[in-house]
């Protein structure tokens, strides 16, 4: 009787161990997700107190169509025949500040110059410089630093003239904006 009980007890113990042994918990090796962020300083654009100036342009009385251009890179004015251009031209200039090594786009909408005293207007297509030569979209600028230095962006322009354009002095104002790309 004693022997029978002992055997029964041993068998039960072994069975209990077999019953409770659970499969090893499978665990993945820790996987690495990532988090990213780009922190940018506020972007600012300020005028450098220089205007876009086409100087003096003399028209022809014969029929013609010509485009006058003041390049943003400082080259001489493009003055096709039969026009005659004289005087000192200049480009407008703005300073853009932001975070180093960020691409910024300077937007330059068309501007309307109105004849002083009325009677005429000329639409100027503004052309903003880019510093991504040799290729690059006009107005795309790579900020070379952070903080107070910023980068100066020159703005030239062009417009069309015909023999019917009223002579006189034309002026206009324009707004320029800058955005991180």
């Amino acid at each position: 009787m004693r022997t029978l009980l002992r055997m029964t007890s041993v068998a039960a113990t072994v069975a209990a161990l077999a019953f409770t042994a659970a499969p090893a918990q499978a665990a993945t090796p820790t996987s690495q997700a990532t988090a990213n962020a780009r922190i940018l300083k506020p972007l600012s654009i300020t005028w450098n107190n220089t205007n876009l100036n086409f100087a003096d342009i003399v028209l022809d009385t014969n029929p013609f169509t010509a485009t006058v251009r003041v390049p943003f890179n400082g080259s001489p004015i493009v003055c096709p025949a039969p026009l005659t251009c004289s005087g000192t031209t200049s480009v407008a200039s703005y300073n853009v500040k932001g975070t180093n090594n960020q691409l910024v786009h300077v937007s330059t909408p068309n501007v309307t110059m109105n004849r002083v005293g009325g009677g005429g207007s000329i639409t100027v297509r503004l052309l903003a410089a880019n510093n991504l030569a040799p290729s690059g979209v006009a107005g795309d600028v790579l900020l070379p630093n952070s903080g107070n230095s910023g980068v100066d962006v020159a703005i030239g322009g062009e417009f069309d003239l015909t023999e019917a354009t009223p002579d006189g002095v034309y002026t206009g104002n324009f707004a320029v904006t800058a955005d991180y790309m």
Binding site: A15, A24, A26, T28, T30, T34
Partner: protein, 174 residues
């Protein structure tokens, strides 16, 4: 004499009772041959984690001096506070997929806070890390479970530049 006979009969009766127990009965565990080795786990049943999209705040433009925070929730909604003007539209919530045995409950562990670093040594904090997992996540009938995660970035001082950090995730069966 009679006592011995009774005792013998008692033993015989017990032996007969034991012999009468069929090893095939369902309740007789002791009749089965015990085993102590754990069953092998096939490669198909191992739990795996796959990162599908990284958590990306894209650009955070500071509106001025001082600190601020930006939050991306697991549902993709965002909000900002303090000097951070807005979160770019290209900001993305993180997502991952768990693969394993159909129907198994799993535990997903992620830190509550990590640091993001820039190339020039700058540091910002990424905390309040949360997921859209249920309280007791479980793999579906296909053995899969996808979830999304988000959190909050806190910016102090004059931090600027590109920041990046690792976000360790551990998944295991319960």
């Amino acid at each position: 004499m009679s006592r011995s006979k009774v005792l013998a009969l008692g033993i015989a009766a017990l032996a007969a009772a034991c012999a009468g127990i069929s090893p095939s009965r369902a309740q007789c565990r002791l009749c089965d041959r015990p085993t102590t080795s754990a069953p092998s786990i096939s490669s198909d049943s191992q739990v795996r984690l796959e990162i599908e999209t990284r958590l990306d705040f894209d650009r955070l433009i500071l509106a001025g001096e001082g600190g601020g925070s930006a939050l991306i929730r697991p549902d993709g909604t965002t909000s900002t506070e303090g000097a951070i003007a807005a979160i770019a539209g290209r900001a993305m919530v993180g997502s991952a997929a768990i693969h394993g045995e159909p129907g198994r409950a799993v535990r997903v562990e992620m830190p509550q806070r990590v640091e993001l670093y820039s190339m020039n040594g700058g540091r910002i904090t990424f905390d309040q890390i949360v997921t859209d997992l249920a309280a007791l996540p479980r793999l579906d009938s296909a053995g899969q479970l996808s979830f999304r995660f988000g959190g909050r970035i806190r910016v102090e001082g004059d931090a600027e530049g590109d920041f990046r950090g690792d976000l360790p995730i551990t998944v295991e069966y319960l």
